[in-house]
Amino acid sequence: MLKLIFISLFFISIGCYGQFTKGTRTVGLNLTSFNFSSLNSSYDVNQIGSSSNTNNSLNVSITPSMGWFISEQVLVGGSFSFNLNNSKFTAGNNVTRKGNSFTAGIGSFGRYYFGATNFMPYAQASLGVSFGSGKNTWDETYTTYSEKGEGNQKSIFNINAGIGMGLTKMISKNTGLDISLGYGFTNSSFDYSSESNIQYNNPPSSELRKSEYKYTGVNHGASFSIGFLIFLDPK
């Protein structure tokens, strides 16, 4: 499906011609991801009964940007990025886990427009970095013990790179609706530390459990973005 969309964008681009004026500036705001999910699931086993889990999560990423046409078809610019994650997980009445993280960053992009009609296809490459932190907490009660804990993600550092193709559809003289599909890589790292207190029922006793690790990993995948782009005439 994704391949078909890319191929369609390519063929649309072939049919378009036109040019911008060098020095035209742009201001934009893109929603690079928005995901809300609510998942309920249950598991029944004859010997041990049933358990039900609920997970609600929200992820929002927005990217304001500014750009300049350095030639009639090439737009270069800079952008900010803000990403928010929030989740709550429950299992029955006795397990609650909450997590949230926030990252903010800066980036740059280069865009090549194949036309300047009402319907303007383009190819784009981008590069950026972002920083942030996160936290998760848990509160759990079982038959033999209970546990409360808190974990912290510190020094989140992401390096993002991506390429893609998109379309800017002019909806007024100076405003365009911007839609793009792309493929991106993110190299992510953070330090994690957690501490939890465990209270045992029989015999009554407690234990403090700590853990620490450093995470580094690479994620890659397709992305979709939608937003608005305002074209400002050269001064």
Partner: protein, 143 residues
């Protein structure tokens, strides 16, 4: 100009094609599998000398045997699943992990849970490093 656009489209298609499901383990791409019953999990499996010899002969990278031995124990799993009581409560969610079959030991199957393939899991479920689980072979289903 069109040549440039064709190159971009080609590169995008290559990336999309390369992003198919799979996990590289011991230099080979291993396939994702499903777990039919989380009750068939061995959480503290002790690898015998024979098991270790068998795994060692199957892998190019011999250090993977000690990784599997260490990270297939519940104490090294993420906070949300590191005791039986916890797992009994969160079995429906554990089924949402992405499992990759890496080895077979008689009637048991070893699966890997890489962190990069399991970022979608709720807080407390995402492994810090690749962890492993030993299941009864009958509960593992190809995807």
């Amino acid at each position: 100009m069109y040549k440039f656009a064709s190159v971009i489209v080609f590169v995008l298609l290559v990336f999309v094609s390369c992003s198919q499901k799979g996990f590289v383990f011991d230099g080979k791409k291993v396939q994702e599998v499903k777990v039919a019953d989380m009750g068939d999990l061995y959480s503290t499996y002790i690898f015998s000398k024979d098991d270790q010899t068998q795994l060692s002969s199957a892998f190019n990278n011999k250090s993977l045997v000690s990784d599997i031995s260490a990270y297939s124990k519940e104490k090294n799993w993420p906070d949300a699943i590191n005791t039986l009581e916890k797992r009994l409560q969160v079995r429906p969610t554990m089924l949402q992990y992405h499992f990759y079959k890496v080895a077979t030991l008689g009637n048991k199957t070893i699966v890997a849970l890489p962190p990069d393939k399991n970022r979608h899991m709720p807080a407390g479920f995402v492994p810090a490093t690749t962890i492993y689980m030993v299941f009864a072979g009958k509960t593992i289903i190809g995807k």
